[in-house]
């Protein structure tokens, strides 16, 4: 069963991404939304842990990246950028959604 995990908190603010990464499995998708998108910053606190998530698709919401001035040049490799429609598609493509609030 594939899960969609959503993380909406900055890794500089709390440990929800850390907790999530301890539970994701290969085949799952992790979607970063709201302040959660700060995790994609190159050289940032979460960069290493995110890159090490093998077999997990990592996506980030385009509107939230844009609102925080995070362009492609500031992002680590392997992040899929999706809009709200893409968010809906990810919900549909996975079996369940888990929000790490």
């Amino acid at each position: 069963m594939a899960l969609l995990h959503t993380v909406n908190k900055s890794p500089y603010q709390c440990t929800s991404l850390q907790s999530c990464l301890q539970h994701v499995r290969a085949g799952d998708t992790l979607l970063l939304i709201e302040d959660g998108v700060y995790a994609v910053l190159k050289g940032g606190k979460a960069a290493e842990a995110l890159s090490a998530a093998n077999g997990v698709k990592v996506a980030a919401l385009s509107a939230d990246l844009k609102a925080r001035g995070i362009g492609a040049e500031k992002m680590i490799d392997g992040i899929e950028v999706v809009d709200y429609g893409g968010f809906v598609d990810l919900v549909e493509q996975t079996d369940k959604t888990q929000a790490w609030l």
Partner: protein, 130 residues
């Protein structure tokens, strides 16, 4: 796909109500059905009709009401969370002897059973919150 949406955060707090709204709009545009939006904890504050944000800001509460009217959405506010935070409809007003009600158009007050039912009936339950 039949969707249930849960909102745990009030308007103008962080971003959860905005994200939930934008997600709902995108889902409807793609032809999905939204079975119910359940507002819980501080999320019930999305359901007051008395908010007056500055004119150049988004009107989060009104946006929900308009979306509900346009698409026949079922917006449900948790009764216990609403009582604590002063979100009142006509029935609650009479039951508790209050001098006014403030529920916004398109919202209704009901119990947690509505959330459980959404969890059972929907293909996916998507949660937004703080």
């Amino acid at each position: 796909m039949k969707l249930g949406i849960v909102v745990y955060e009030g308007p103008y707090q962080h971003e959860a109500s905005d994200t939930a709204y934008n997600f709902a709009v995108a889902a409807l545009q793609k032809g999905h059905e939204i079975f119910r939006v359940f507002f819980y904890h501080d999320g019930v504050n999305n359901g007051t009709r008395l908010t007056t944000p500055p004119q150049d800001d988004r009107h989060i509460q009104q946006r929900w009401s308009e979306l509900a009217e346009k698409h026949g959405l079922d917006l449900v506010v948790c009764v216990a969370a609403a009582q604590r935070r002063g979100i009142v409809d006509e029935d609650e007003k009479n039951r508790h002897g209050k001098d006014a009600d403030n529920i916004a158009p398109g919202f209704r007050i009901s119990g947690l059973g509505q959330l459980i039912e959404a969890g059972i009936q929907c293909d996916r339950l998507v949660t937004f919150g703080d």
